[in-house]
Subunit: 623 residues, 2 copies
């Protein structure tokens, strides 16, 4: 790193930081022993690092700790939550007494951090995700032309997660010099020593190979910590890693550096002895019971209506392509949109946006985990992230999506190339589980357009909706179904064919909706009328509205989907109906049941049971 | 690397390899142009590398290409499938004419490789997974004390995937010197140049930082390729990376090194010109239409019955702990079992097995993606992998599980700490989507034991069952329900409480089954009899047998699960019933609907609607 930009800190500063670190360790022990669970030793290894950060390096506003005008901190090693709560308390965000409510049912100070706690941008506790969140915050700061910095505390155990190296490579490539990692290398994982233990040079080589500045220090040597933080801040053109050799359980002889203390509080009868070694206990007022839960969480910013889509020429368009046009239209009216693509912008069509707004578009390379968690960081800074890959590859980031939901984050995901209708590329490229996956995400909307107009309108709806939004797009070009003025509320569906004579309801979406329309034509020629429903919103569902449709077609229902039978449209509909006390009189669920293989899209739709022929057969069976 | 172990190859050997490489490029182009899709340029960059591997370095048996007595090859960059098919054809596994059926509906030669093709151990095409498969094959070879080697061809685009670096770190740490990576660094991704383009030294630093020997060569220089393969083979104590600088589309001037040719065949009208540049075309007999689909896929080896579990002391035991005991019992009778834990062996209890069979246990560190794909490699060598982590963190490897299913692999996954019943650690550690996730996997069994006996018996069943097997274990200690002799067939369930007066059926599993039993006791005291079913097998389901139970309780059904409502027990049951034409007369689905937080397990079960109190209320509502 470059030379320090500031003079060495004074002896009194060093002493003050030492005192803060001591209090953080003591408070972490006291809170976890009171809770009867938690990870005090994982806090104690990082006490000097975090004290140095908050009370020396960071521009931090304790009363508005997630302000875009201040530096941001991400505790990637989320099990050190008590340390984070302790430092927020010491900084004045809430009283120390509140830390003693750790892990209680009624406390916002949970076992691992969530944005319920002021100062927490993203939930952590699934390891290896925090650096990607930091990357998203760093992108946001760069877009805002803000001089604020992002600090991420990593544990060494979590550096076995590949996502850490996706994020490190990404940050190095884009030269985010507003991003600093502090690695708490305490050499002990949960069940055993870490892979590299205290081999600090290996960590240095890893970060340097990703284009980072790297600095190895003793993480308990306060002057060394402060000097490293100064050097990091002064470094230009590269992110910086402060690799701190530490001792798990530092400061208390009978736990320090010892195995089998991970995730274990100091036993009640040993707490006094432990605190004494750190000159404790400290006096803490009893908790008044007040909640300090964060009142307002980020919401997607409002924006004026974009120009409507125009497909009046009537030519077939793939929904994946419409997604790109929609993003571009949105980009013109919403300056907060940022798109990242997992090296597939020419397949998902986010390149249409990227070409129009190059500063708001990032090539995410083939690294879906970093893609999603970076979105969480962007959203925490008030941006509106749109993240794309093939739908099947988003399954690689399911844990990251799950954590995004726990983060109460507002992220938008677009997965293209769903189902067997992609054809020749074969099953590795076919998403057949994405509806199941995204439905089982708290706060999610699962959207599945069947034409370009709805794809565009739903993309716009995503930009306005809080929570996890997923758009499933399709590879084939398909006919336009709707006029540009059509509205697509969430929840909702469209009835595309109906008559008083309808003998069954067929619910589909995407390619299967078009197969259903074909089947309806065939059946009509045979004198059988069927209702056809476009279920463009798979979650949430308006069960009563669907039930009303089915009731008028003799209770006969067919669902058809380019997805496994588990967790998709069929199960969503049948389960929603059951929960409002409705069951179809007769029911057929058409879905992909065998393992598909390569072939032409039409061959595959037919071979795997979801083509117009199968739909018509099912109608004739039950109607 | 160390000095070459063999003399330099003769000029005639070099010429023969060059000729093979030329034929591989030509065949890749011809096949993709005939198919009208595919990735010829991604094949052409690696033609010399693959020719050198198959016709110089590898001990390869074309008639038994996945023999444990021969070297193994994993094409991690699966989109270069035509190159793999071409080399298998050139080696004699099937005729060249068969390669011309690429991507056809009726051909086993799919767009991306699957084990339908002889010589393919694992499906690839979701990038960045092949090195982990190679790691599993390397573990297997080491366990077998076999001198065979494993070669993995990586693309440079996929090296952005963190999983590559999980696998590289793992292989370096365990010093797998029977493992060689050949990296085809052609500098062009799908949508744009790769992150590092031809910066070969960065790749060298990355591999070296993981403890590998690394060698940078010109990938089109045949003598250099062969020399590097010799050096790799002679290297002891470290895995080896041959980092080959290549040109995408090498050999054909109008595509070589050009952007916008990814995934595009040479147009028909330009094919002749392209082939001419490589001295082509070559003459290929017309295809006889014979399938060369692999006849037999690996099955889990049979083994004698282990000693029965013994919980006769009646003390409560967590199902996660029983899993560890079961693995140990199995280890005594099945020498093929290999367990890997994601640094949680002391939470999932695989340490019980690891302590008994240290050679068959690997610390997988915190890297779930590598964990799962390594299992696929192990299974391909006839091992029986048991892979464990917290259930929520298996969501990180969903893409790897999906690919394992496409690989027709036999892997066993154990996910512990499901649901809100884990308590104080909070939602980041609670699996609430794992049933949805694993149900939507082709060939999967989803098992969810409610006591130690069933946990042990189901673990044994997993070791015998082909496909993807998932065991959901729970954190709390729970009472023993079954005698050691009880059988647990797949599919199946147990009726634990029944009488002729039953007014409703309650289906639960894990902690909610025990809540249901408590509710049944409470209701009994109020004169309300209910049937209680232990759904230990969530997938597959015997819908008719469940329907018969519900029919005898007035069609009234309650499902209760420590899982989101989407894709779990409730949806599985209601959808299975609907598919056999049965609907409950009255139905209540109890599941976790709000975002949970920290608290005591009992507080959380009650707060999130799945405790005995809620079950009893639901029964009273509908019965």
């Amino acid at each position: 790193m470059s030379a320090a930009s500031s003079a060495a800190p004074s002896a009194s500063t060093v002493a003050a930081i030492r005192e803060k670190a001591r209090r953080l360790s003591i408070l972490s022990m006291m809170a976890t022993t009171a809770a009867g669970s938690g990870h005090p030793t994982s806090c104690m290894s990082a006490a000097e690092l975090v004290a140095g950060l908050f009370f020396y390096a960071m521009k931090f506003d304790p009363k508005n700790p997630t302000s875009n005008d201040a530096d941001r901190f991400v505790l990637s090693k989320g099990h050190a939550a008590p340390l984070l709560y302790a430092v927020l308390a010491e900084a004045g965000t809430f009283p120390e007494s509140r830390v003693m409510t750790l892990r209680q049912f009624s406390s916002e100070l949970e076992g691992h951090p969530t944005p319920r706690v002021p100062g927490v941008d993203a939930a952590t506790g699934s390891l290896g995700q925090g650096l990607s969140v930091g990357v998203g915050l760093a992108i946001g700061a760069r877009l805002d032309k803000s001089s604020t910095r992002v600090y991420v505390l990593l544990g060494d155990g979590e550096m076995a997660e590949g996502q850490v190296w996706e994020a490190a490579a990404f940050a190095g490539h884009y030269k985010f010099d507003n991003l600093t990692v502090i690695a708490d290398v305490n050499a002990l994982g949960q069940s055993a020593p870490t892979m590299y233990q205290h081999d600090m040079e290996t960590y240095r080589r890893k970060f340097e190979s990703c284009g980072w500045a790297a600095d190895v220090i003793d993480g308990h040597d306060v002057p060394a910590v402060l000097a490293a933080l100064d050097r990091a801040k002064a470094t230009r053109g590269r992110p910086q890693a402060i690799l701190a050799r530490t001792v798990k359980g530092h400061g208390v002889s009978f736990v320090a550096g010892k195995e089998n203390w991970h995730g274990k509080p100091i036993p009640k009868d040993q707490l006094d002895a432990a605190l004494k070694e750190l000159g404790g206990p400290i006096t803490i007022a009893s908790d008044a019971g007040n909640s300090y839960e964060r009142k307002s969480l980020p919401k997607p910013p409002d924006f004026p209506a974009p120009a409507p889509p125009d497909y009046s020429d009537g030519k077939p368009v793939a929904t994946r392509e419409a997604y790109g046009y929609a993003l571009k239209r949105l980009g013109k009216v919403n300056p907060h949109i940022v798109a990242i693509s997992g090296d597939v912008k020419n397949s998902t069509f986010s390149e249409i946006f990227g070409d129009a707004f190059p500063d708001h578009f990032y090539q995410g390379y083939i690294a879906e985990q970093n893609l999603v968690s970076a979105g969480v960081g962007l959203a925490a800074r008030g941006k509106v992230p749109f993240l794309d890959s093939f739908a099947c590859f988003l399954s690689r980031a399911y844990d990251q999506v799950r954590m995004a939901a726990i983060s109460r984050s507002n992220i938008n995901l677009c997965g293209s190339h769903c189902g067997v209708s992609i054809g020749e590329d074969g099953p590795s490229q076919m998403a057949l589980e994405d509806l199941a996956m995204f439905r089982a995400v708290h706060s999610s909307a699962v959207l599945y357009p069947s034409d370009a107009v709805s794809a565009e309108r739903l993309t716009e709806a995503m930009a306005r909706r809080a929570g996890i939004n997923y758009l499933r797009t399709s590879r084939p070009k398909i006919p336009i179904l709707y006029s540009s003025e059509e509205k697509f509320p969430i929840p909702g569906f469209k009835v595309l064919r109906q008559s008083a004579q309808d003998r069954a309801t067929v619910i589909g979406a995407g390619v299967t909706l078009h197969e259903a329309l074909k089947a309806a034509e065939q059946l009509k020629s045979q004198g059988i009328a069927v209702r056809v429903i476009d279920l463009y919103c798979v979650k949430p569902l308006d069960a009563r509205a669907i039930a009303a449709q089915i009731a008028t077609t003799g209770g006969r229902l067919i669902t058809v989907e380019d997805h496994w039978p588990e967790g998709g449209i069929g199960e969503a509909v049948i389960s929603a109906l059951a929960q409002v006390g409705v069951a179809p009189a007769k029911f057929r669920m058409l879905a992909v049941t065998g393992m598909p293989h390569s072939g032409k899209p039409d061959e595959l739709l037919d071979a795997f049971g979801i083509s117009a022929r199968h739909i018509a057969d099912a109608v004739r069976e039950i109607a």
